[in-house]
Every structure is written in structure tokens, then in C-alpha cells.
Symmetry: D2
Subunit: 363 residues, 4 copies
């Protein structure tokens, strides 16, 4: 079975709805970081703006950011904190074309009576939901994306705390199923702790034993990394030959690691400024076609908030597939409460999730 | 790798501790169901009672029940509700041999620095625990038990709500990995609903679609079963050819189903009286060598409370392995709060658990 | 502020929809416990059946049970297991009047833009929902019900495990805010354990200390109760003067206790047969105007399944208010997944819930 | 009842254990941010170092940081990232005095048989634990701390999402029960959203209604704040007269807000660099005598990791009381898994927690 993307429903701009609509209005930014009062804010859906009689799509969108009209009549989606005096911010809080702003909610054709019905998804995604089909679709999707897409992985610590999960994730990377890895200082530190000491937070990742002085292990990793100056150099100096981080480095999969207020260390690569880290994540989100978030509420919501439901490619507009896997219903549902409706959630332990993926994709 | 049971540490009854101890005392039951005030209550560990100078093991124990001395000097462990006037109940609340009662807490040798240290297990069994080794040990254990033991499965509804989990569990039964299936009316009803309608509670077990009038499906199953008069007859009349219940019937794996205060129906086989159901469960627990409980807090605690940590076989005393798998830390820990300390808990979605077991044991 | 019930929207049976409809059809039961194939099953909403040209309301409904036409043209709602050969079961799976069956979904006027919008309720009842108004409305409701209604309490063990919660619940009973108490063997046993030993499961209900031999305490309670022969006699013999059970007995609030497959004991009053217990619960549900379920998933779903959304009183039809309070989103949402949509759920620790109620209602 | 602090157990340094011990050794830092290999890392307990024959206490400790010997023979506890070339880092991974390092684990006398027994606390802090006594002790503690201590509040969003919780927290601040408020951009933004629009994330904080265009509300707050330039100026310009943030500003309670990778905005006051934010938090932790963390896993662990179990005051050493309240057992237990053992955890909804505190302290 070959995977088929859902088709984009092109709009007919000759329709009266669009032809009779006003041009979108804009107002100028008068102070850096401050939008005009009636600014329009973006959703996760494709949004078109009527500029000089022509409907222009915002190509790289981000929820809760504002559309800025550029000199070439393109629409740039800008975080408030990056607004500059003089920027032309589009104003208006409608979405029905009348004011020159149109949000294309149901934008993809449905091969699946359930897939793009928000309520359908909302109903009862819990430990009792059947995930058989979700898994099967995900296997096919990832085989497709390996050749055609850009797969973003967002990991929480639970993905690196067990031998089985580490090996499965590393194997997925080695087999081409990851284009970038995003996370915090902790996942890289504890994965490297696994490589160096076979522990995570001092507990053996296979035998579960708490080793003597084990609470020093992650500190030793961080200290050795500071001395080495980079993760690459650490891997060389310590002869590290396995692990998730090792696989990323070996396969040139970029690591994007953000600092956290509870970090020790951090590792040299970690970005301390949370807004710079947002910018760094967004560079990858702007290429993403599938995003898979495992067991990290904070990073999942951060990525979820900046990922639009669509991607503009050379010849087409395609959906962005967003998965979040966590053991807590609250965690997976929170993303939807925060506005990211188009997401497939699965409630399970990510160790089992990763091993199933690896078994079905690489064996 | 062949599986090795942990060895029982035989006691030396020539030791002064035992030789100098008094005989155990008993008092007579004066009213049905009522124990003498100072009755002894059992734990999950092997307990020996000194009777006429000889230390006798209670062979089929049950926590929170009382030891009754029989005419042949054997020790019967009896639920309070089954006490009869004239029964000789052993009295005394010590466990150090002094009063003729000895509880053998650390009774099995340890191939595993961690396995029989209660605190070791207690510490941090959560979604973040590494389960790699637990899975590997369980695979080996089940291969051993298939030939040598008696495997009790206790299922909650989540095990029958997805196509993948149903197929995996049925395959495990077909391949000899189940000796009895224990559960409530719901799991049998919804598994049969899957066989007849491909739904569970009206939702398709593969596509997740809510089918029209789907809430009638489980009622129709129950009504058809009442008409058929038995599950076997229902399977025949409706040409059922797959599912967990079907596999049990085909393979002569006994079904022990207890009624619940929230049942519709129930199915003809269901036991309405909860204490009769306890008695029926205990018949199987008295043979059990491994117990696996999935996603059912109520049945898990019920079985957990009646399962001792050891089994007396012809030539040896061996451990009883008790597993409980649930997606909620609270659920798996609750069993330990209720006194069942010797249990391996795993925090995950049982759908994935079952599929991993099946992949590793039958493929 | 005096509490106002939402008003029932009376139907106009002179409307063509009703006048042109057929009479409802029925078929005869041919075997005890078995309905005719096309039986109609009830919802939680008021349902009308056209009998001899007249629309008759089922006055005491129960979800997933069947309507039986009696000689006097009244409609009795009967559990499948109580069907008798010859009963006239109404058939048809429509609800739009056409076949003589009409389900009155939006039957109450709304003083609250949100109250009867199912989606409104469904959206985000979680730990992050604001419960301020729910509490305030509940205080007013309970003051009204104390004079005019029938308040059913359904308790799980967490309600009796702390000194504060026990005192609050007892005070609510003493002050007239409870008409019946429903639960399992455990809540009565552990409340009485609190009265006799100041422990619950051996842990002190105030200091949290685990007392020596504390695991004997609940067994001693059960044993003493068996000797006494009744809870009333136990209270007398042991000079019990406080606690939830004590307050029930003192105030003639009926105790309806169902057996569970994990019970020790049980107490003399406990009903062992789960379907007899259903019948006993339904006697009270048939009078209920407000139901409050605390920290017990099993009993909550059992009661939820049998509680209709309306109550027929002498002069009016009024809503039944159903509250479920639990610390787990999954637990409170499960009720809705099982079909009971009209429920107010609150996510918190029931200890705090009970103390807030008591502070605001009795002090 | 007046509150009594647990007394510090002074050590007798004339004891042979201490007199015969070696002096602590140190090694020099050779590269900024890098400790010598055998560095000692701190715990949450008081630690003494033998310097020139004299035992010196580290007065302001922080777990997982290193002790640096200063010119005046004082011991500074330094984060790895702040180590400078030439710093004298004490080395050795023992804690029994032998190498001149002594960790004083059981350092406070116990008025409470349970309070300083780690296992006692660890056992079963769950939704079923009795919290009656914890509440009563907390009321007395806070009355004491209001006069004598420094109370640090750490808030997650759930504390500002309901009318009741906001009013309770504001009242506690107004009545002198808070010395500093720590949190993220979200809690301040949504509290101010409550002040300006009576919503949180677009949902009314009392009626629960989702208001039209409500998702713009928090963006409008952030935009207005950027225009105003400061929270103080925003309050003035928008005539804000109630709320948690308002109460902080009115009562000169410092606000310490850290940025998060999922922020919109942020507010002008927010610290973007997570390590600068750690430094800012630590300034307050170094004065803290009681810390109360509500419904925020990330901030709780961050603060928990940097809070020692003791505080050196002019005339005495006293305990630091650390409370964490969350609705999830996993969240409250995680802190202990991360090494912060001396913490009182309560499992409930923080709305109810705050209202109970306010009712008992200010009314």
C-alpha cells in the first residue's frame, strides 16, 4: 500500500464571495513589538489576504502571530516581539473574506470519514481508544515521509530512560526516519549518560538498579561536555558509539536543544534564551511535514503552537501531520485546549510506541 | 536462554528459634462467620504453624483470611464468611515463631539484586521507569510457564476495545499462553460485540467511527446470548469465528466472569454473587503460577488480595509471579497500598503491551 | 438568592408531528429475559410513546432498558433480566415520533447559556476549569433540595480516609443534606474503622501514622460486626458516637451497600448479588432529584447509567442534577463516554470538596 | 496554638569523628565552567567542610552545585556554569567526615514521629492520603512565617484560571502571606487577562463561557503591556483594580517571571534567559523559609532543585518548609524522584487549596 496525502481543496477566487470582498486593510506599527489595536492574529489553518484585488496565501504561518504585508505583496507571519516600527500589520478579526481575510478551515479532502472532523477527534481519545489504525497509518506515512518529507521529532526524557527506547529511537534515526531532533538539555544529557554510564539519573537503563554515586553521573556528563567544548568532541574523547545523540551526530541530524529553568549544566549546544530557541525551532517547523512529539508537555505545546496544518511545496499544498504521544490524557488533550486542533493523539508509554515503530519500520 | 525460577529458601526447623517455640494456640468459633477475638490473619508470604511440635505450612494461603486447624493437622485458610461454629482458628498476632506462628518473608533466593527487595520495586515505578528488562524476563517466564505453569489472565475492557489488542490476546490464547481468563461481564460482552459488529460500545474497533445506532450493539449481543442460553451456543448460532472469547471456547480455556453493579445483561455465564465469584476465582488462583492483570483496577485488587507469593508443587515450593499493567501509576500502586507487595507493575497502554507480547512470543 | 429549577418544555401533542405519527408497535416476549429483536432501548431523556393515539411518558426511565406496555397503558421501563414471557416490549429504533416513539432531548429551559449544550460541557472539564460558579450553584441547589428534593450520595473510600472529610460528610448528614447513602462494603468498613480505631486501612486518619498491627483493624471491625449481627447493634455494643455511618443510623438515612469482588467480610448489611443491588439502588434513584458521586468510578457509572435526566413530580417535571467529583479527568469523563451526558463534573480531591460544602452550608 | 519550629541538632565537633578527620581537599578550576574530575556535589542537607582544622558550614547551598573555597575560608556554592578559572573546588565524594566533608542528614529534631522519616512520607502520598493535619499545620506555619519568615509562592496557570482561586490568592497577598511570587509569563498574562476581560485563555473565569474572539484576549493583554512598557504602567493605563498581579504590585511583592519556549509576548518583565532566571530565583530562595508550589511541574522542580532543607539565620539554623500541591500524583512525586526528599506533597485541585487557605487565614 502506498501512502496518499490528503488533497488540498483549492479555492475558486472567481467566486463572488472573494470577488466582492474588500481589500485587506493594514495599519503601521508605531513602536517596536507593539501591534495596532485591531491586528489580525493567525490560526493553524491556511489564511488568504486580499491585496490589491489578489488573494495571497500566508505561506509560513504561525498561530497567534500577526500578518505583515511586505513590499513585494507577500505576507510574512511575525511574532509580536519581532514587530518593527513601520511594519504594515493587517487588521481585522473576521475570517469570512468580507474584510479581505479568509481562513480556509476544511482545506483538505478526506479519505477518511473521521480525519478532518475536529469533533470526531475530540471525542474520547483516551487509554480506551483503539489505536490499531493510527499505528498502521503512521507506518505508511513515515515510509512516505522518509522519501518525500521532513520529519521533526520532539522528545521528552521518558524516551531516553530505557535501553529499549534508546535503541529504537537510534535505529529510526539510523534508518532515515528523522530530519531533526528537538528537545531540552535533559534528554541529551541523560542519553549521553546512558552512553557513558548505562544509567539515566543514576538508575541503570536496563537492570533498573540505582548505582552507587549515580546522582553524579549526569553531572559528570555535563562537566565532561563543558571540558570538551562540544557534543561532537565529547563523543570523540569518550569513545561514545551508541545512543540517540550519537546517531544524530553520525547521521547529521540537527539537534535543537533549549534550556530549561531546571537545568544543570547545560550542554554547550543548549540555547539559553527561550525566544531565540523559538526562532531556532521555527526554522525547522517551516520545513516540517510530520511532527512527532513524545512525552514532553512543554515542548509539545511550544511546537504545536507554531506548527500550521499545511505546508506549501513547489507544486502543491499538503497537510502537516502532527502526532503527540503521552501516557496522560490531560497532557495530550492540553494541546487541543491551547488551540492546536488538528492533531492525532495517542495515549501510551512512549517506550512501547518507539519499539513498535522500530519493529514495523526497520525489521 | 532458559528460564530459572528463584529457589525457595528452606527453613531449618532444628534451629533453636523453631525448637524452643510454643505450639500455636487455637480457639473455637462460637458463631458462624465470627472468628475469636485474637485470630491470626494471613499475609501473602508462606506461614508455618507449630502443631504438636511440628511446623506445618499453610499450602493454599489467602491474605486477610484465617488459619483453621483441621482434624488431620493440616492448615486450611478460610475466609471469615466461611467460618463454621466449632472451627479451630489459630490465634496470635506475632510472626517470629515465638507463639508457634512464623512468616517466611524473604523466602526466595535472588538471582537479581533487585527482585525481592520490596523498596527497590517501590521506588519510582512510573511512566519513566525502564521496562526493557521486565519485558525480556516476562517473555522467558511465559515460555517456561506454557510448559510448566498455570497462567491466569485478568482483563479489563481496554484489552478488547481495539482490533490489535483483541488479535494479540486471541493469538496468545491460541498458542497456549493462557490457562484461564478472568474478568467481568463487560469484557466478554464487548469482545463478542467486536466479533458480531466490529465495534466496542458502538465505536468501530479499527476505524474508530461511531456507527449508527451503535449503542444498541452491546445490548443486541446480550439479548442474543440470553436467547442462545450460553456463550458456546451464541458462537454457534452467530457463526463467530474470531475474538478473545471465541479463542477461549475453542481452546477450552475456562472463562470466569463476575457480575458488576454497572452491568447490562448479563451474559448467561456471569456470576451475580460477588462472594461466589471470589470462590470461583480462588479455585484458579490455587493453581496459579503467573498472574497477569491488564487495565482493571477492581479485578486486579480482588485477585491480588487472594494470591499468595508462593505455590506448593509436588517437589518444590516456587514463586507466583504477579504482573499488573495499567496506564495509571495510581492504579498499579494501589495494589501495593492494599498489601500486595510482591508485584511487578508496568505503566503503559495494554494494547501495546499485548501486541509486544504476541510479537515476541508467537512470531 | 433562591434557587430556581430549570423549567420543563412541555410538548404540544396537537402538533402535526405527533398527530400524524403512527402508534408505537410492540412485540411479545417469547422467553424470559429475551427481548424481541427490534426492541427499543431507553436513553436518559424523557421518552414518549404513542399508545392508542395518546402520547404517554415513561415516568421512571433507565438507560439501556426496554419499554414495556402494561395493561393500564402505562409504560414500565424494565431491565432485560426482568423481562417475562408475554411482556409487550415496544419496538423501533427511531426517536422522531414517526414510529410512535419520541425522545425529548432538549427538554429543559436554560437559565444558563451553557447548561444544556452538550459540547459546552464536554469542552475542557479538567483540573484547569474554573469551578467557582459550580460550587456556588451547588450550594444553592442543596439548600433547595434539603426542603424539596431527594439527595443521593454515592461515596468512594477517599471520602472516609481523612478526619476532615469524615467530619464534613457527617455534618452534612446531620444537617439534612442527605437522603440516602450508597456505596460499597469498603466505605462503611473503613468509616467504622475510623470510629473504632481512628484509622483507615491501618493508617491514622489524622496523624497519617501507620499503627502497629493496623492491617488487623478493618478485619476486627468486620468480625465485630458479624458478631453483633447488624451495624446498629455494632454501634451500640462498641459505643460508637461519631462518623459517617453513625450519622446515617442516627438520622435514619438509609445505607445501601453493595458487595464487591475484593471485599473482606462483608458487613451484615451488604448485598452480595450485584443485580439485586442494582434493584435496591434503583428504588432510591426513582426518587432522586440530585445525585452526588464522590471518588468512585464503579458506583458512579452504575448510578449514572440508571439515572434519567428528569423526575416526574405531582405538579411538574423537573431536572435531576447529577454531579461527579473525582481527582482524575479520565474517571469523570468516562461516565460521559458511557452515555450519561447531562452531568456536572468537577476535578478535585473529594476531601476538599466535602469540607468546602460543609463550610458553606452549615457554618 | 503557637507554631514551633523543629530544632536544629547541633553537631559536636569535638567528637573523634570530626577531630580525626582530614582537612577537605580542593583542586583548581583550569577552564571556566569546568570542575576538576573528582568535584564534590551538594545535597539539600547541611554540609560541613573541614578547612584548616575547622568545620565550616555551607550557608547558602544548592543541590548538584559545587563547593568553592573562598579567600576568607567561607564556602560558596556555585553552579558549574559560574565556575571561573582558578576557583578552588572541594573534591571528594564521601559524606562521613573522613575526607573533611560531612553531610548532616537528620539535622532537625522531630516533634512528629513521622515528619523526618523519609519512608513514612514516601509511602502512599496520593489522593487517598488524609490531609487534615497537613492543612492545620500549614495554617499555623503561615501565621508564624508572616511575622518571622520569607514565603515564596510558585504558581502555575491553574491558580489564575478561576475567579475563586484568583480572589483567594490576591487576598493572601493583601494579608501579608506572600514575600515573592515566582512563575512564568503565562500566569501573569492570564491573571491580567482576568483583570481586563474576566477571561482566561478566552474562557470566562466565572461563567465558563467561551467568549467571542476570546483567543484574542491574552494577545491583547500582551500587546497593551508592550505598549505600556511595564506591568505597573499597564495597571495604571487600564485601571486594573483587582487580581493577583495587581495585589503584588500594590503590596510591593516582587514578581519573578521566567520566559518559556511556548510563550506569546512576553510581558516586559519576563526574563528570557533561563539561567539568568535561575540566578534571579536563587536570590529569593536564599531568603526563603517556606516555599509553596502550586500546579506547575516545571517551576516546582526548578525551585525544588535549588532549595536546601535549612536556612541559616542570625541566631539559629531552621528548617525550610517546602510544599507542593498538584492534582497528579506523578507530578508531586517527580520532585522526589529528582532528589528533593524533604517535601510535603498534597494531591488536590489548587483552586480548593487556595480557597481553604484563605478562608482559614484571613476570615
Amino acid at each position: 500500500m502506498s501512502y496518499e496525502l490528503r488533497k488540498y481543496k483549492e479555492l475558486d477566487f472567481n467566486d463572488d464571495l472573494f470577488k466582492n470582498a474588500q481589500n485587506a486593510k493594514y495599519e503601521l506599527v508605531e513602536k517596536d513589538r507593539v501591534a495596532p489595536d485591531n491586528y489580525h492574529a493567525m490560526s493553524i489553518y491556511p489564511e488568504y489576504f486580499k491585496i490589491d484585488g489578489k488573494w495571497i496565501l500566508a505561506e509560513e504561518s504561525r498561530m497567534d502571530c500577526v500578518p505583515v504585508l511586505r513590499e513585494d505583496n507577500s505576507i510574512d507571519i511575525v511574532e509580536f516581539r519581532r514587530l518593527k516600527t513601520g511594519d504594515k500589520v493587517i487588521v481585522g478579526r473576521t475570517e469570512d473574506a468580507s474584510e479581505g481575510i479568509y481562513v480556509h478551515f476544511e482545506c483538505f479532502e478526506d479519505n477518511n470519514p473521521c480525519t478532518n472532523d475536529a469533533f470526531c477527534f475530540r471525542a474520547g481519545r483516551s487509554r480506551e481508544t483503539s489505536y490499531t489504525k493510527d499505528y498502521e497509518e503512521l507506518y505508511e506515512l513515515l515510509k512516505y515521509e522518509k522519501e518525500n518529507g521532513y520529519i521533526v521529532w520532539v522528545l521528552g526524557p521518558a524516551a531516553v530512560f530505557s535501553k529499549g527506547a534508546r535503541e529504537a529511537m537510534a535505529s529510526l534515526i539510523d534508518n532515515g526516519y528523522a530530519n531533526v531532533l528537538i528537545g531540552g538539555n535533559a534528554i541529551a544529557t541523560h542519553d549521553l549518560e546512558g552512553s557513558l554510564f548505562q544509567t539515566a539519573l543514576g538508575q541503570h537503563i536496563y537492570t533498573q538498579e540505582s548505582v552507587k554515586d549515580g546522582h553524579y553521573n549526569h553531572l559528570d556528563v555535563l562537566n565532561k561536555a563543558s571540558r570538551a567544548g562540544s557534543i561532537e568532541e565529547l563523543i570523540k574523547q569518550e569513545n561514545i558509539t551508541e545512543g540517540i545523540i550519537y546517531s544524530c551526530v553520525k547521521n547529521n541530524v540537527p539537534l535543537v536543544l533549549g534550556g530549561s529553568i531546571r537545568d544543570d549544566g547545560p550542554l554547550p549546544i543548549v540555547i539559553a534564551d527561550v525566544y531565540k530557541f523559538q526562532d531556532e525551532m521555527r526554522k525547522h517547523v517551516n520545513k516540517a511535514t510530520t511532527v512527532i512529539c513524545l512525552a514532553t508537555q512543554l515542548h509539545t505545546i511550544a511546537i504545536g503552537n507554531m506548527t500550521p496544518s499545511y505546508r506549501v511545496e513547489k507544486d502543491k499544498i499538503r497537510p502537516v501531520n502532527f502526532y503527540t504521544i503521552d501516557i496522560s490524557e490531560f497532557a495530550v488533550n492540553k494541546l487541543k485546549d491551547r488551540g492546536s486542533l488538528e492533531v492525532v493523539t495517542m495515549v501510551t508509554n512512549v517506550q512501547d510506541f518507539l519499539e513498535k515503530l522500530n519493529t514495523n519500520l526497520t525489521k
